[in-house]
Amino acid sequence: MNATQIIVNLSGLIIIAWVVWYFWMYRKEGVQVVETSGVQEAVIRVKGGYDPDVIVVKRGKPVRLHFNRQESAMCSEMVVFDQIDQSAKLPEGETVTIEFTPEKRGEIPFQCQMGMLRGKVIVQ
């Protein structure tokens, strides 16, 4: 094995390790929502993903998530909150609100219909 080969192979392995870390191991910090007159509200931009995609809320208080889709790619056309049986179409440019009151601590995941874009609400 010459030097070139060693470098190429090493780089390959580093890339693999990086992919594993970046896409699977990385843990994001959640965004704490703003609370106004008893309602926890957050605006989520939908463009190739949910921004922010991890939202931290308190339990027992209503949560209002305003989804604003800023792209025409069909992937993100719909947002699905499977656990709480809610879903909504997100027309481009419009703000669509999902409202619920989390009663239990834990995570409420949400995603696009195909499961490519994901986010979650962490209930504390």
Binding site: Q5, V8, N9, G12, I15, I16, V19, V20, Y22, F23, W24, Y26, K28, K47, G48, G49, Y50, D51, D53, E71, S72, A73, M74, C75, M78, V80, D82, D85, Q86, S87, A88, K89, P91, E92, G93, E94, T95, Q111, Q113, M114, G115, M116, L117, R118
Partner: protein, 900 residues
């Protein structure tokens, strides 16, 4: 700072895009467009600009309805239409509540008109505040929605201007402008503002209101968005194709099928070849930048979220091909001998193919959700309403609860309501799936979007806007389409790991070829790695279940079968046992005359005439059933001269001078009437589960009449179909064993759970579930609610406009049992379809990726071209959507037999 007179934006004169001098005054503009508009008609804008206001003293917005300019102060008068005001005392409640609001000067509630006249100071109280107050008092305010198309919105900040302006108009509660679609969505009080008012408010900001967008058009928003997306993708495709052809010619000069031997590069010099490749490289870059733009933006956006999707794979694949080619072209010495061959064709052609695939997918997706559009198209556009005694035609959005709506022959019924005058037959097939028109008269419910046949009637609107049955159906269907089938949850777990796995596979492929591959190893390594990236299709996997679900739920809705969510659908496909409640489910739940058995010396018609005439004044349901039965046989009835109801016995009457008794054995014994002639008949009828009564005329036994809760016309067929489908059908009833068995025999059910008290129904279902098989329960949504919830799948028999029955997983709008086998068949077909797609997608990826990696090469010397991989990838996602579309042509086999 000054104000742009056209759009009303704040403009810094130093930074303004343009300025104009007019009548000695300088105006500054935010954009060229505004300046152009100003040039065209300066006067119209000066009037409105604050600087100009003093010149046009007392200028106000054009409409009376919007008669408040932004600078106006002082009290405002509003007329709030109130909903739910059903007692005169409510008037005080509302008046007091509104009177307490800070800034309200005067309140007067008009009970007969259901309106509140409020005078308030705009700077201290707001309209939404007033409405909230009314709501808190326990009532509602009739609010309508309107969408208005605005022309040539060119900046996002104009949106703000228009919204602010609209909100200043009294009567407008909410206004949002969507810069993506140029549509303003406005909530307003219909008696305060109309379209003209809204238009003048928008026009006053310098924008043109094109037209009011009909509800049917707005529901087509999605279609429009899809079409726009399709067109844009097709444009990208054609561009990529046009560029790809010369790029291909450069890349494969020797290909015999091109039939252009040596035309380009065959005998060309080295330098010419290099410059041709350089041109190809630029062309391919253009394709990637324009046609493939969404892959890169999508990949980048996903990357920021630490996720990867199809875009990532395509972006990586095409850019790897492009970068390798470019390096090979510029510094060929960097690579081992013979590997420095550019392959720009891959970048261009793969982009073209994948974009084409996406375009086809968009088109096919549009078809999948056609069911929803069909439902929305049913909505009536206008309604004829009585206002102040006048018949006026108004947009359906402006109909308020309590309005009297006039329906003429052939009209579409605009909203839900209750008939107050007239009668007709209504074709409800579009909503309930029931093909025969339904007779309606005063007091009956009518459903919006159904079509009146020949009669005319007036009805009082009970549900409008979002509350109508149709709106609820649409919502239910949309929610169901957006829900997840449990099988899709598994897929989601997989797809979360899919793309990074493919990326890792690509790197490994590269390394293996690089280390162990034949010469030129580097070229092989790059091509195979790119092919792996391109062939992998996460979309096909992710779309399989949702696409089938959308098609299946839509198919159900077409036949009045509303499936609540993916879970209900998946479970319904696995049902083995169906429990049917007897009353109201198998039977009509309403007694009807079934038998007329005359005693010797009487004929059936005479017997029935006496029995029915005697009962005509009785309000007992059994008596009413006899009366209705006689009338439907065309028998003329007379009113009895004397009528006496004897509780627990029957009736004692005098009809046409003759003493007529209708009642049970106790009544006959009391009157000493001999019953032996018909006693055995009566016992037989009772054995069949019917309620039989003796009829005696002038002390003589005239015969027996029987009424029973009759079986719905199609119950027997529906049950037969379910049994043919391999389902075990069980009847659940509160009747005694004998009666239950009698009905069960008639409809062909072997297993009966009789004498089950209503509260024990859920327990019975629970016991059946212990067997380990999936149990479905069919019943009404109210009495049987606990049993429906307990069952794996609860089917609720629909009742008119009450669509969203909480307890049910599946609602049968038509009230016919036929819906049950249909729902199960649709579910089975949908799940079959989803599994086909899913299996196909998994097979495709698990075969395609190893082949792309070159697994076949050591054995057969076969290597996949990245271009073929691109075509395969595009085709696989299109196939999934097309497979789901096949469900649109699904015909329930058994259902068809039943109907014919």
């Amino acid at each position: 700072m000054t104000t742009d007179p056209v759009c009303g934006m704040s403009v810094d004169p130093a930074e303004s895009v343009a300025n104009r001098k007019h009548q000695g005054q300088t105006y500054y503009f935010c954009s060229e467009d505004c300046a152009r508009k100003f040039d065209a008609n300066p006067e119209s804008y000066i009037q409105r600009s604050p600087e100009g206001n003093h010149r046009q003293k007392g200028f106000r917005a054009a409409s009376l309805n919007t008669g408040v300019a932004d600078d106006m102060v002082g009290p405002v008068h509003v007329e709030l239409p109130l909903v739910g005001l059903d007692c005169a005392t409510c008037v005080q409640t509302v008046e007091r509540a509104l009177g307490d609001v800070d800034g309200v000067q005067e309140v007067h509630v008009n009970f007969p008109l259901s309106t509140a006249h409020v005078v308030y100071e705009q700077e201290r109280a707001t309209l939404p505040q007033l409405i909230d107050t009314v709501k808190q008092a326990g009532y509602d305010v009739g609010v309508a929605d309107m969408r208005v198309q605005i022309e040539a919105l060119h900046c996002a900040s104009c949106v703000q201007t228009i919204e602010t302006k609209l909100l200043q108009v009294p009567g407008i509660l909410e206004a949002t402008v969507n810069p993506g679609t140029d549509i303003a969505h406005i909530s307003y009080l219909p008696k305060q503002v109309d379209f003209a008012g809204i238009r003048s408010a928008i026009n006053s900001t310098g924008y043109e209101t094109v037209k009011r967008v009909e509800e049917a058009e707005t529901v087509d928003d999605e279609t429009t968005a899809h079409q726009r997306e399709y067109k844009s993708l097709m444009r990208k495709f054609w561009f990529a194709t046009a560029v790809s052809i010369p790029v291909m010619l450069v890349a494969y000069p020797e290909l015999p099928w091109l039939y252009l031997p040596n035309l380009f590069v065959g005998e060309a010099s080295e330098a010419l070849i290099r410059s041709l490749f350089a041109l190809s490289g630029l062309a391919a870059l253009a394709v990637m930048a324009y046609s493939g733009r969404q892959f890169f933006t999508g990949a980048l956006a996903a990357f920021r979220h630490h996720s990867a999707d199809m875009n990532t794979l395509i972006a990586l694949g095409t850019s790897a091909a492009w970068i390798y080619s470019t390096v090979a072209l510029i510094i060929p010495t960097l690579f081992p001998e013979g590997t420095a061959t550019p392959f720009y064709d891959v970048a261009a052609v793969v982009t073209a193919l994948v974009v084409l695939g996406q375009a086809l997918e968009v088109r096919a997706k549009g078809q999948t959700s056609q069911a929803i559009r069909k439902l929305l198209d049913l909505q009536a556009k206008t309604a004829r309403v009585l206002r102040d005694g006048q018949e006026v035609e108004i947009p359906v959005e402006e109909v308020l609860v309590g309005d009297i709506v006039v329906v003429r022959p052939g009209d579409k019924i605009p909203v839900d309501g209750e008939i107050v005058e007239g009668r007709s037959a209504v074709d409800e097939s579009m909503v309930t799936g029931e093909s025969l028109p339904v007779d309606k008269e005063s007091g009956d419910e009518v459903i919006g979007a159904t079509v009146n046949t020949t009669g005319s009637f007036k009805f009082s609107a009970t549900k409008v806007g979002k509350d109508t049955a149709l709106a609820q159906i649409v919502k239910l269907v949309q929610d169901a389409m957006g829900s997840k089938a449990p099988i899709a949850r598994l897929v989601d777990v997989v797809s979360g790991y899919f793309v990074p796995t493919v990326m890792i596979t690509a790197v490994l492929t590269f390394l293996i070829w690089f280390n162990f591959g034949p010469s030129p190893a580097l070229a092989f390594a790059v091509v195979t790695a790119v092919t792996v990236l391109i062939i992998a299709c996460p979309c096909a996997v992710g779309m399989a279940v949702p696409m089938s679900l959308v098609a299946g739920v839509g198919k159900g809705a077409e036949h009045g079968v509303l499936i609540r969510n993916g879970e209900a659908l998946q479970t319904a496909s696995k049902l083995k046992t169906i429990v049917l409640d007897k009353t109201g489910t198998i039977t009509k739940g309403k007694p009807e005359l079934t038998d007329t058995l005359p005693a010797p010396g009487f004929d059936a018609a005479t017997l029935l005439r006496y029995a029915a005439s005697a009962d005509i004044l009785s309000e007992h349901p059994l008596a009413q059933a006899i009366v209705n039965g006689a009338r439907s046989q065309g028998i003329d009835l007379v009113e009895p001269e004397q009528f006496d109801a004897i509780p627990g016995h029957g009736v004692d009457t005098r009809v046409e001078g003759r003493r007529v008794f209708v009642g049970n054995i106790k009544l006959m014994r009391r009157e000493g009437i001999e019953v032996s002639a018909v006693e055995s008949e009566l016992e037989r009828l009772q054995g069949d589960g019917k309620t039989a009564m003796y009829v005696a005329v002038d002390g003589q036994m005239a015969g027996v009449v029987a009424v029973a809760d009759t079986i719905k016309e199609d119950s027997i067929q529906a049950i037969q179909v379910m049994q043919e489908m391999g389902l075990q059908v069980i009847m659940l009833t509160g009747d005694n064993e004998r009666t239950g068995q009698a009905i069960a025999r008639l409809v062909g059910i072997d297993r009966v759970l009789a004498e089950v008290l209503p509260k024990d129904k859920a327990q019975e279902v629970h016991m059946l579930k212990q067997g380990g098989e999936k149990v479905g329960m069919v019943g009404d949504g109210i009495n049987d609610a606990p049993a429906l919830v307990e069952a794996d799948v609860g089917f609720a028999i629909g009742t008119g406009t009450d669509v969203a029955i909480e307890a049910s997983d599946i609602t049968l709008m038509s009230g016919s049992l036929k819906g049950v086998p249909y729902a199960i068949e649709v579910s089975r077909a949908t799940m079959r379809n989803a599994k086909q797609s899913l299996f196909g997608a998994f097979m495709y990826n698990s075969l395609g990726i190893p082949i792309a990696a070159g697994l076949l090469f050591p054995f057969f010397g076969v290597l996949l071209s990245p271009i073929i991989a691109g075509a395969a990838m595009a085709a696989s996602s299109v196939t999934v959507v097309s497979n789901a579309n096949r469900l649109r042509f699904f015909k329930a086999k058994s259902f068809k037999e039943v109907t014919t």
